[in-house]
Amino acid sequence: MRSPSFLLIVVWALAAGTAGAQVDFSGEWSPLYHEDAADRIPGPEIGDYTALPLNDAARMRGDTFQADRLSMVMQYQCRPHSADYGLRGLGNMRIDKEIEPLHQKLIAFKTYMPAWGSVRTIWLDGRPHPPEYAEHTFQGFSTGVWDGNQLTITTTHLKANYHRRNEVPSSDKRTLVEHWVRHGDLLTVVTWVDDPVYFTEPLVRSQSWLLDPGQQVPQFYCEYVTELPPVTEDSVPHYLPGTNPNLTEIAGWYGLPTEVLRGGAEKMLPEYRKRMPRPEKPAPAMCERMCNCTDFRSCL
């Protein structure tokens, strides 16, 4: 007869292990820019609000944005990507597991993105979100729960940032929900962003990442430098409403009707194609900008 002691060990091992191992998202991941590559790498065109369910308040912020602000106003320099934009923007990602040593339970995933050295913790131990008045940060407060093979993450307490780098703003009232699914060496991250201040309905997008264990995600440097002398000490470069001359440039470059640039939820439905107006200027005969942009080398 086999020793009961041996059986005891086996049964203990089986019992102890039930909460031990999950889908492993840890590792070094590279983003794939096979969607909206130019929007995400070099950056969006001024006045391009397509594919966003934004409202007039968001349009006003985008329309009055002048990029000189980044050169003259220190507070806007080295501003990190927030948790939601970071997933859409540029940069690789390392995911680490945080294990509670006594019970060997996975209690959190930590993500590091080199863009602005963004570190984020996704708690898996069931802790509640803090009260509304708690500090808001660029990475917010994230908790995750498993649903089958899917990790669903809810993030609150985000600081105001942007949904798109041409200054389509995001508010500190927004909630981010993510669904992470791993298929072999591929990670799909679906994001649902509800921003009651700047959106008329939640925005759903999805990003793809490829496991890339050979990479070393680097340190990030950003130095504050005043690149232009301020007109006055407290001046903030901007356009007054209705005076930005650059908002419709993109329409001519790509043969777009100017109406589509204003974005909005109704233009994200397939039926909008039927009532889309004709462009004011015909499209060029041949693509002239960002025609083969798919990654850092080809876009910059």
Partner: protein
């Protein structure tokens, strides 16, 4: 009581404590019932479905808007990792010639159709076949479960698709039998995996970026429900085509479930 008897009593006690924990572990295969009745006949694909993908779904165009809602300019292949030959062939795009040859559906094939703005209607054609109908281009995809990986049918726009409910991620070559000392939280498969081959050559977009007849497509359909009650699925698509691509072309496309078939609007394929 002898030492051996005491150990046996301890063993029984531990087993009693351990079994509920084992049974409660997340990540069991759908329908798994350890300790339950003996297994009956294998479940059909429809019975084994861990998520319900049937219904009418609308593509919300939140990505690649300019390239999906409009016919892009000639040579605008942004975001597609075409190789030199792919770009050369893409630049030779001729919509009038395609129309003359009756090839208006070249940008409505399986590698493209889920990116075309429109609605899809998903239903079970039979217990082993999931059907995806699209109003854009009036196309039909058939996803064959428990089917052989190849077919003798002619090549077609939608090709031949083999489907299965994806098995959970696990170590390469390591089976269930080695799963001691570990649990399975978060490993229950609930994705639909589809492999498509036997395609006619076509375009990823209307302006002619090509895929070849040798292209292979792997898709993963993931269902998700949001805090406001909206139901979505996201299909992650991986296309390999050494003839025209530098490497895999990966997109993920999001569809929102409708309560009714409102907006269903069958339209024929067009080249422009």
């Amino acid at each position: 009581m002898s030492k051996q008897q005491r150990n046996l009593h301890s063993l029984v006690a531990i087993v009693c404590c351990a079994l509920p924990a084992l049974a409660g572990a997340q990540g069991r295969a759908p329908g798994g019932s350890p300790g339950g009745p003996p297994p009956g006949p294998p479940k059909t694909a429809r019975e084994a479905a861990p998520v319900d993908l049937t219904g009418t779904w609308v593509s919300i165009v939140s990505e690649d808007w300019r390239w999906r809602m409009l016919t892009p300019t000639r040579g605008d292949f942004q975001s597609i990792p075409l190789n030199a030959e792919g770009k050369r062939v893409g630049l030779a795009w001729d919509a009038a010639r395609d129309e003359m040859l009756g090839l208006q559906c070249k940008s409505f094939g399986a590698p493209a159709i889920m990116r075309v703005p429109g609605r899809v209607r998903i239903s079970w054609q039979d217990d082993q076949t999931l059907k995806i109908e699209t109003d854009a281009g009036t196309q039909t995809r058939l996803l064959h479960f428990n089917a052989p990986p190849t077919t003798t049918e002619d090549r077609s726009w939608q090709g031949y698709s083999v489907a299965n409910w994806e098995r959970p991620v696990r170590g390469r070559g390591v089976g269930e039998g080695l799963s001691i000392f570990v649990g399975n939280i978060g490993r229950a498969g609930r994705s639909l995996e589809v492999t498509t081959t036997n395609l006619r050559e076509g375009y990823y977009r209307r302006n002619g970026p090509p895929y070849s007849a040798d292209a292979q497509m792997q898709e993963y359909f993931d269902y998700h429900k949001e805090p406001n009650g909206d139901e979505w699925f996201t299909v992650t698509t991986v296309i390999t085509d050494p003839k025209y691509l530098q490497g895999p072309f990966v997109t993920s496309t999001d569809f929102k479930k409708q309560k009714t078939a409102a907006g269903w609007d069958p339209t024929p394929c067009t080249s422009r």
